[in-house]
Point group: C2
């Protein structure tokens, strides 16, 4: 029950007042008493309920009750009024000799008011949920959910819907959360009373509210609500410009519908929570602001942006077409066809020679009980593909978000080959049902080194539901974590395996070949412009061995972080035989330093595309034994135990020698999680 509000009455006046059902009026009887008052009595009509404190000894309130310093009257209304002033209450004050000194007459009008949202998260706005004013995580939690309206209903002169302060199309409404103002009472409110919807200055940056004037009729079917009524008008009620606005009281039993849209994602300075308030205002007199006498509040949380790991089913695969990647495209097309997903090709006019589809963007999605759609996170990398996410992906029910960084803060580590997400994991009893985001940075101890830009990191951390883990990727020339790790689905254990590039596994394999008499088998056979290397030559190269020892120690450092932060055992990890080499590289940091950093020695098989059970793996061009590439044989044998099928794609000339592979050159939009983010226990 709400706290009753202090209500002042004057004797020898008739006072009219509106009372919201469920709230009360607290009258200080002593304060309003005529001088010399010693007793009082109270009576009322049936719709008005009252109690006196301190509780009088007499059972009948009609006989005068002694007036004390703390005498108070609590008034409530049992139901909504049928007409104005249909409740009456009178107070009489008496002197020492029970002579009447004054009389208070109250005319009361009761209304029911409820600002309703889908606080129980079932996709339907329920009536006056007791928990609508707060937000709690978990399957036993509550609180409504808001999407950032970051798609674009318009295809021509495209603009983010959240950047428009109007509802452009009826289809835009389904990106918003429905909010219903339910009122019950007389045909109209007594003179001067008003309803007002309002938000705080802080929240106004993050939310906008429209009213639906097209329909006053309620329906439980969202589909019906959205599409069957022709949209007449959706006036803007609240925004950054208008923090408070009157909304009409419709009278009788009525429902007024509103649409709420989120404008920004959680970030360093925004926890994602938004309150929308509806107040009943009481008039004072002209020129004076009305007093809010009742406020109902609905709390929303803005849905976070969620990434999708390799273990989720692919929907669409994106690759670039360039003048030199016909072979690669052919391999990809076969693989994608086999996996039953769709291949989308970004042509040269759009990619402008930039083939690194993985690096310019990350696919994710946002989800609510009423609606869900994919959202692309656009990297501040901004090379040839920079317009692709906005110009080609953004559209109806396909959202877009980016973070703007200073040009000089952007490094190769801001490419999204350096942004991945694990499958769901449990770590020391904590369930990460949506996995954990993984990014690559320099060692935390490094005095120089490259980093992922702060605005993007702040954004990722603020989404909360896939708490990020920072790995060490600055040891690589390109500096992306997808150069040394990937996840594949598995039928057993945790439902996946972590694949790690492993020079040790590579050396072990090559030593085995040498021991078995294949020391003269050649890498890079059949490749023009590439000098062939024998197994013996590789094993005899002490420098290369030292370089790979270093690389292994870098990967092992990440292995330890991944084991700890994802709760993995060694049995959850598969080492893939991959060698690296170090090259001198100029430091990003504009200091004229050069540093030794790593690149893959032969196509980096861990940099694969995972489409369900089908893996698209860079063809390694390893030494052949009995006509089969020993690296491919090893790879297949490691993957086949998991029921996975390996397809080796020749990316040597078009990707590998440009320091990327299959994964770098592709991107996959996947099905969202079945698990709902709001059911996470945080």
């Amino acid at each position: 029950m709400m706290h009753p509000r202090t209500f002042r009455v004057d004797y020898d006046h008739v006072t009219s007042v509106v009372c919201v059902v469920g709230s009360g009026l607290n009258v200080n009887l002593n304060r309003s008493a005529p001088p010399g008052s010693e007793f009082f009595s109270v009576k009322s009509t049936a719709i008005v309920q009252y109690s006196i404190s301190p509780r009088p000894r007499e059972t009948s309130h009609l006989s005068p009750i002694p007036l004390k310093g703390n005498s108070a009257l609590l008034i409530r209304m049992s139901r909504a009024s049928d007409y104005e002033n249909d409740g009456k209450l009178s107070i009489r004050y008496y002197g020492e000799k029970k002579d009447v000194l004054g009389r208070v007459l109250l005319h009361l009008t009761a209304v029911e008011i409820s600002l309703d949202v889908d606080a129980d998260r079932d996709g339907v706005v329920e009536k006056n949920n007791a928990n609508k004013g707060s937000w709690k995580w978990g399957s036993n939690g509550h609180g409504a959910i808001l999407l950032v309206n970051c798609d674009s209903e318009r295809m021509l002169l495209k603009v983010l819907d959240s950047e428009q302060d109007q509802v452009s199309k009826v289809s835009d409404l389904k990106d918003m959360s429905v909010m219903v103002l339910r009122t019950k009472g007389p045909a109209k409110l007594p003179e001067g009373y008003k309803l007002t919807m309002h938000i705080s200055q802080g929240d106004a940056e993050s939310v906008r509210v429209f009213r639906d004037r097209s329909s006053g009729v309620e329906s439980n079917s969202l589909q019906n609500l959205l599409f069957n009524h022709f949209v007449k008008e959706y006036p803007l009620v609240l925004s950054n410009e208008v923090l408070s606005q009157e909304v009409p009281y419709l009278g009788g039993v009525s429902e007024m519908k509103f649409y709420v849209e989120g404008l920004r994602y959680p970030d360093r300075d925004f926890d994602g929570l938004i309150s929308i308030n509806l107040s009943l205002l009481e008039p004072i007199s002209d020129g004076l602001p009305e007093t809010p006498i009742f406020t109902d509040t609905a709390v929303f949380r803005v849905a976070p942006w969620i990434m999708t790991p390799n273990t989720l089913q692919p929907v669409e695969v994106f690759v670039c077409c360039t003048s030199d990647n016909y072979q690669f495209l052919k391999g990809m097309r076969n693989l994608v066809t086999k996996s039953g997903s769709k291949l989308k090709i970004c042509h040269e006019y759009m990619n402008r020679g930039d083939r690194w589809m993985q690096d310019e963007l990350e696919f994710g999605y946002i989800d609510s009980p009423h609606h869900r759609f994919p959202v692309v996170l656009d990297s501040p990398r901004d090379r040839g593909l920079k317009d692709f996410p906005y110009d080609e992906l953004l559209g109806p029910d396909f959202g877009y978000v980016t973070r703007v960084a200073q040009r000089e803060d952007v490094s190769s580590l801001d490419s999204f080959g350096n942004l991945e997400v694990s499958p769901p994991v449990t770590v020391n009893g904590k369930n990460y049902h949506l996995g954990r985001i993984l990014i690559g940075v320099a060692f935390p101890t490094a005095t120089t080194g490259r980093n992922m830009t702060k605005v993007v990191q702040d954004f990722l951390w603020a989404q909360k539901v896939q708490e990020p883990v920072a790995l060490f990727s600055d040891w690589l020339v390109v500096g992306h974590i997808d150069e040394f790790m990937s996840f594949v689905p598995a039928p057993d254990r945790k439902g996946f395996r972590l694949l790690l590039a492993s020079p040790d596994a590579g050396y072990k394999l090559f030593r085995g070949l040498q021991r078995d008499g294949h020391g003269q088998a050649k890498l890079f056979e059949g490749l023009k412009d590439e000098e062939q290397q024998t197994v013996d030559e590789i094993l005899n190269d002490k420098g290369l061995a030292a370089q790979n020892n270093y690389v292994q120690s870098c990967i092992d450092w990440n292995r330890d972080v991944l084991k700890r932060e994802l709760g993995l055992d060694d049995e959850d990890i598969i080492d893939l035989p991959i060698l690296f080499k170090l090259v001198m590289e100029e430091n990003d940091n504009k200091k004229a330093e050069t540093e030794l950093r790593a690149v893959a020695y032969y196509p980096d098989m861990v940099n694969m595309i995972v489409l369900g059970k089908n893996l698209g793996i860079p063809k390694p061009f390893g030494p052949k034994v009995n006509g089969r590439c020993a690296l491919e044989v090893e790879m297949c044998s490691l993957m086949e135990g998991l029921g996975l099928s390996c397809t080796f794609i020749d990316d040597f000339a078009s990707y590998h020698i440009k320091l990327g592979e299959v994964h770098c050159g592709s991107n996959v939009r996947r099905e969202p999680f079945d698990f709902k983010w709001w059911n996470l226990e945080m």
Copy 2:
């Protein structure tokens, strides 16, 4: 126990490695095995402890054990080494016929490393507290505490210590938190190993670390640590410019002391938590970054700025001297003397005619287990007194903080007569041991109206420990909550009473006077330049009554908020007989609107100064009955029951007619709370 790190060994090589006591090395035996290996055996010297997994059947590890795909060796060191490489461990690999195929020899050096802080909050840095890496609120909580070094050790060419990247004086050290790096091990680390202290980019805005080179000797007495050793040198280790720096390994059993200073208060974009890390780096080779193989972390929380309610004992009272306030100063001097506190006068050269000492600043303090000092929050109001907080208050152990607002965002509501704090309260079972901050704004439903500027509100909310409550003060011309409310100490109930200005109480009193035959008694007697008013005249003024009805409804609105948010009953509130009047006033908002707003009709007695049991109350110049002012008599009678003594101070000409009173014209620095903020359950 920490997760062991993956460690790679090579057969037929001697490998040297440093191992931190308490951590482990995990060796994948299969990965490092020579081709054809089928068995292995392990032996070690006593300081080295190892276990094999899967656990072998044989009890003796000396007889060859079958090598499996997942065979692993976990190595730990039981204690710190006396000299380099004093631990030895060897692994032998055997072929099918138990012929030796290869041998691994490890030379191990063990060190103990601990970055220690006062995580148990007793003022002393303990050894390796298990909880030092996290922060938890409450009396059963843990985690170290940092002060913002916002005082100034320098009196000439004054500058905030936090704006200096050096330790200016030995006395500056006591504002910082001590951190000790304890190490135990051989005289020096093996070649290439290093210790590095480091912080994240985000934390670097908020913290600075100095090393103490003056002393390597530990002492448990902070006093001793700080003053008895002559300060030689305090080099800067970490700052916004240097995120990572090597610190020397001293050898043997040693302790290195550091001083940590906070640079910024919690705010909208800073939760107050800071991590400082100490890592052991392992060398790889020249030109490659060393690998962090062990990291110890200490977490600090920056102490919040805390306000002091009227119920705390006064220390110093501040007032301005102006050309016209001799009478007021005399009254204040007597009162302050009676209360046993000190009167501090701000002279005209400094106040430049600005008498509103309450409004330019708010006294508070910051507290930690090792040190505590007052901190003045300087308002963005910036009138004549604007330089007073910085120029006169800031000094050694007197801190300063401000928030800079856009000139056009600053209104009268940014004066700190509009910023108060309640005594400790309990609300629905939640304990606010430090009370709750109170500010005044416009109605949340208002479409226009004045507000406290956002940067100050953000600051206040971010301190967390005195969760703010927004009241409605925009109905007043000056717009400060101290115009209608105050708190006084009380011996019973919750330890205090909330005093509220009450026109109803005023009218009740005047009506009683009229009834008792004093209708011709006069207000404002003895004041020149002020027209006298009789009780009858006031009661006959219908317009004034209507205005006061409005004022009462505004105050009642606040009363309801205060009851709800502070958990008060009507019995915790005392209504003071004070009338207001409305005047036309130009709106701050530059729109050419005028609005009706309220000012006190006679000196506003609630705007008092509270010094222990002594109240300094604006002399109301009310109607006299039997030679005594009826308002003073009523006030005294209300306060005397609480054991409080009323002193009425004539502020009419010098403050009241300029729309302020005693409280507006004074400020009080008070004793801090006994309760420690870190013991709050949040």
